[in-house]
Symmetry: C2
Subunit: 411 residues, 2 copies
């Protein structure tokens, strides 16, 4: 993978050429709709044939776009098609979870070349975790016969509230040692040529779903992660919507019951404190201890006093009435909140992911029913509600794609 070495090409530190605004727009278009003929690019961008010839010529000279065969003839010669050059550089995507880290190395078109995953403890000091991640990226590059200097982009998803421009976590409940630790800055000290992108895990998963999952081609949708908490990645016109302070999608603290239990945020009756994994597990334990559920009582004994939302899901699948009731209660609360957000935002789809989405189909069907029952008919006439198509891979795909989409510097 080499980039054309011409004396007058302005380059970024990652070795990629600097592109003008219209060149960047053309590259984004080809990425989204490509391969495309020059005529198609001119039509999409509403620019002249002359302009597109100059722009495309330059992007081909810079090795950013490459010719990949011919399209259908529209009367004359078959037009040559342009696509993004997959070999322009390596991209790494990292999905940091509470107890594990998932990594992937991809080419410049986002196709995954290598995967790694290993347990990790985010309660450790961030520099140790990040150094280990960098080692793993070096290993993946090495398997491809490449070195760390060949990396052009890196995206990282982290499970907590992210100050996006600075690339650091703010008071993350699951990983207090990372509070205000400058992740982006730390990585630039280790891999100076790249400009890493750090975002919260839910936004990253939503981008993954948007680019290679069920959301491909959709302008507006929600990606809902149900796990220890409940969060939402909001896709707006094909991109992540962050809101005015970067906090958009914080649906876990929407109130479902003013008289509900106190949430760790200080309010009462928040959705996540009443319907997420720990609430499901807690209600399962209560049913086990009260004698309402024999299956869950056995589980509790077998697991030495531990019961997870997955156990409740399995009990429900085995026909346990209490487990079914518990899952339905969660699904109805989640669906009730989603109904309000559907009225407000009118998305085309809702994709559900996160650990709790593994507990089976019943949760999905209750969420779907509750959402459709409460939202207005007009706003749901073509609404799709489904589990994420990418499952636990949404994170690494999203991390790769957020890196790709931020890899070029303009100007």
């Amino acid at each position: 993978m080499t980039v054309a070495q011409e004396p007058f090409v302005k380059k970024s530190s990652n070795g990629l050429p600097r592109l003008s605004a219209v060149e960047l727009t053309a590259v984004d278009l080809v990425r989204k709709k490509g391969p495309l003929s020059r005529t198609a690019i001119a039509e999409y961008l509403d620019i002249s044939r002359g302009s597109v010839t100059a722009i495309a010529g330059n992007l081909v000279d810079l090795n950013v776009l490459t010719e990949v065969g011919h399209g259908k003839s529209e009367g004359g010669r078959r037009p040559r098609l342009l696509d993004v050059n997959a070999e322009l550089g390596y991209i790494a995507g990292v999905d940091i979870g509470a107890t594990s880290v998932d990594l992937a190395l991809a080419d410049f078109q986002g196709s995954i070349l290598e995967r790694k995953a290993e347990p990790a403890d985010v309660r450790e000091e961030p520099d140790q975790v990040l150094d280990r991640i960098i080692d793993l990226i070096v290993e993946m590059l090495s398997s491809q016969g490449a070195e760390i200097t060949d990396l052009v982009g890196l995206g990282i998803g982290v499970p907590g509230p992210v100050q996006f421009p600075a690339g650091l976590l703010i008071e993350p409940p699951l990983m207090p040692a990372w509070d205000s630790f400058p992740i982006k800055r730390f990585i630039r000290q280790r891999i100076p040529q790249i400009n890493p992108v750090v975002d919260n895990d839910v936004n990253i998963m939503a981008i993954g779903e948007a680019r290679v999952g069920g959301g491909k081609g959709l302008d507006n949708f929600f990606y809902i992660k149900i796990g220890t908490g409940i969060g939402c990645g909001v896709i707006n016109n094909g991109h992540i919507y962050r809101g005015s302070d970067g906090t958009a999608g914080d649906v876990g603290h929407i109130c479902v019951d003013y008289n509900g239990p106190i949430c760790h945020c200080g309010n009462t009756g928040c959705l996540e404190s009443m319907a997420a994994g720990p609430a499901i597990a807690q209600r399962g334990r209560e049913a086990a201890e009260s004698g309402e559920s024999e299956i869950m009582a056995k589980r509790l004994e077998l697991n030495r006093g531990e019961l997870t939302s997955k156990d409740v899901g399995e009990a429900a699948a085995a026909g346990d009435q209490a487990a079914n009731r518990i899952i339905n209660e969660s699904g109805r609360m989640i669906g009730g909140v989603l109904a309000g957000l559907v009225n407000f935002y009118n998305p085309r789809a809702i994709f559900i992911g996160g650990g709790v989405s593994n507990i089976g189909h019943q949760l999905l069907s209750t969420i779907r029913q509750a959402t459709l029952r409460r939202a207005t008919a007009l706003s749901t006439s073509s609404l799709l509600i489904d589990y994420s198509k990418l499952g636990s891979d949404a994170g690494v795909h999203g991390a790769i794609w957020i890196a790709i989409e931020n890899v070029f510097v303009s100007g």
Copy 2:
């Protein structure tokens, strides 16, 4: 007001030149940030000095932009500033309410030249109402020494659900005679040169607030209209967000109480059935009839059995306890729903308008408290909640601006 008559300029039916995509972007930029120097335009659009000279030159030749003096020197000569040509054509804005119609005639910069308002009954046949509106537009043009053929754009706000591309109402509860009546098509038959824009009243008011009200310069905010119903115009990146089917902002049917009264939509406990004008009036009447409120009982008698939300507001301002309680209940329900939407969308501001916003400051302060109490601290750290700065003028301003922003045809 004349447009340059050159043989090779491609024109739209309204007499305005057809612009390329980049020319349109330049005009939008100048409208938003202007007056601007050529250098500033080049910097904002990230295009070369050469390109901006050609684009600006053409737009000045076409009379779309005009030179309006000189900016500050940055070392060399003071740069000439460009602004949109206010005299390029007349724009009309129409705000159709349930019982009245508000009209304005503006120049091409959106400055209002003439105003008209008169009672109207939207239960009448749409062609009669629309013919009267066209007569009033002709009168306003005539006062300016102009004719209907000088009109280049028209925006109309209507109180009901609009199918936006077609420009017609779908099952509007307040104006059943207008169901599927092709408003846009009808107007094009009367004023063939223009391409009218029809949108629902709340979206139109939000655009007004965004362009000339408190939302000027804000990327993301809500405009909430509280009247007979409750609706929301969602501003996203400076523009109206319509959602996947055009129904975004339909917050009036978000559930506040599953055990609440049945709403006309068929669901129970919808926000608007519990907190909008009619609910306030109904609870006021109950307090009057039960003897809880002497002031409201007197009102009821004076008004011959009628009591409005305005009466309740006036009773509250006079210190009536029951009226205060009723307004606080409404404010808390509205604020509770807004808190969830603030968590989700993280807007910079919420502006409140509509008839019920006239009942005084107490409603606003209760809505504000309830929103801030229930939304997360991060999402409200710089959130502004206030009454609309434009009051009842938001509609005509918005109608003018939606027309201006759709007046050019590209290509």
